[in-house]
Subunit: 336 residues, 2 copies
Amino acid sequence: MAAKSAPRATYAEIAKTAAVSEATVSRVLNGDENVHPDRIKAVNSAVKKLGYKKHRAASALASGRTGLIAVVIDDDLSIFADPFWATVTSGISRVLMENELQTLLMVTPLESVDGPVAHYLMGGEVDGAIFFQLHKDALIKRLRKQNLPIVITGTPHSRSDFPFVDTDSFGGAHAATKHLFSRGCKQVGIITGDIDTTAGAARLDGYSQAYRESGHVPSKKLIASGDWSMESGRAAMARLLEKAEGIDGVFASNDLMAVGAMAAIEEAGLRVPEDIKIIGFDDSVVAQAARPALTSVRQDIVALGEAAAELMIAQLRGEEVEPRILKSELVIRETA
Amino acid sequence: MAAKSAPRATYAEIAKTAAVSEATVSRVLNGDENVHPDRIKAVNSAVKKLGYKKHRAASALASGRTGLIAVVIDDDLSIFADPFWATVTSGISRVLMENELQTLLMVTPLESVDGPVAHYLMGGEVDGAIFFQLHKDALIKRLRKQNLPIVITGTPHSRSDFPFVDTDSFGGAHAATKHLFSRGCKQVGIITGDIDTTAGAARLDGYSQAYRESGHVPSKKLIASGDWSMESGRAAMARLLEKAEGIDGVFASNDLMAVGAMAAIEEAGLRVPEDIKIIGFDDSVVAQAARPALTSVRQDIVALGEAAAELMIAQLRGEEVEPRILKSELVIRETA
DNA sequence: CGATTGCGAGAAACCGCTTTCACGGAAAGC
DNA sequence: GCTTTCCGTGAAAGCGGTTTCTCGCAATCG
């Protein structure tokens, strides 16, 4: 049941049409410099005339380059349902496509170094792999040893080992916290994300530093930990209300927790932003949908994906690459 | 800068180890029936011993089957940022992977029959294509003519022409509307989605039918059109409040518009659900995050993706396939 | 002016798997 | 008992590009 595709042009025909050898066709199509301009023109016009497109499989077999980049998403918690990752992926896909590369999507529980995904990646089926939300480094390290170009979206724990792209969590949290102070808050709390994640830790750091810059040291009572979920935000806020008297500002490490926190505040009979101001992180659709509309730290998510793709392409070209940290920006709405 | 992959085992080695010919290796690995059991065993154990994995490109070149299924997403409005599509995709990806197929993601403005994507798909680079949110049928028709297996996620306008999977929009809208009546609403309005889409039209139909079943005919004043966006929901609700006196229930064709409608209601000094009850569609994260929490029609989105993949696989096997409509379910929360 | 160097270009081997074709032997038919 | 059919199997010819190797010719050198 294979597709009966239209009769495909091959090198043979191009070579005949352009009156050159197949080798020359290959050289032209792969950008080899040492070809006489006339022949280049001849080949190119033959290509156009015949509507020729390279056969990926044949090319891959002969050259070892597949033109495929894997985007690997750990599906433990259907993380992919977060619009964030989908948006990143669309950025990646666009840039890759512009560079004649295709995106191979692997949504999978990211298992051990010996699982099928690992084998697939190590088997030379793809030219590179972009990982999301990385917990364990083992697989990645192994892949790198095999010389497989890797990019990580999000900051890995061992920062120096891999090329990665990320939003400036620290800076975003810092700006958000500072903004709360500038709006007159005296007691600013934080609801952290999972602080085992680098993003969770960095946001807490940004908060702490901004707090210290305000001339005070944040009391432990002002720090409540969440796990990125709305429910955890609600619970964390409830704890803050209980422990931290006089709290009048909260930086939540993501929007979902911020919304949860708003619910808790409301349940306590207080009002946002009059009694307690609140800022989220991500500027996701829930931030816009929240009532009152949530002030939040925006990341340029598409740009994040594009950066990941660019880092990959640079590696494919054999260039050395540096991690890329993208700036974040405070979007001020009603809650602070 | 190709990856220096570990020395790859080939048929040659397997053939030698198992003391058979390469042809037999191929037969065994492709499930050919006519091979002596002993040799099958020999080959299989050689495969295991050598940790052999088929070389996709070589296989594709020789057989014409790439093992790749394209998932094509029209990126006009970065639809992919909707968690809905990401979730569908993860369902697709899982099922495909279980069937030794890979997901090739193409997030791209879906252009004409002659664009690069079209060529790619027609060029035999993939074994099939799954489309999302289809506006124009032209490309698809062309692909089908070429015998490329196609599945559409969402109902196409020309229903009978293609295999598709979809959630029962009609039924969901019907149930939602009925629920509003059963909760005592007398004047139930609808905020439609883009009614040029089949989903938009079907939801309106479901609403209308339920309305008629209640013994009345919905006045035109009760119908306001939106375009799926939150802002359009807010505007539509404002219009309803103005035109439709006594309106006390609203079915919004998606959650985002429902949330927009809630904002408009609040701005008008009315309360949800006391004055006006409201139901959304999708049961997305915004439904859960909304205050009060939004009653909504849930679709099993992952199942939708899985169904799409299954339809594709069936076609690959040469089976005839029927469209698949998945049931939806009302999730009752606070707004109705 | 003959010898060396360099460069553009073609012939052919090769990438790893699939599939057709042909063959030898066993089972079935006459 | 001999021919015909069937079945399992191997040899070999691709699939469509890429790349190495070689060669002829022109530019450069001594």
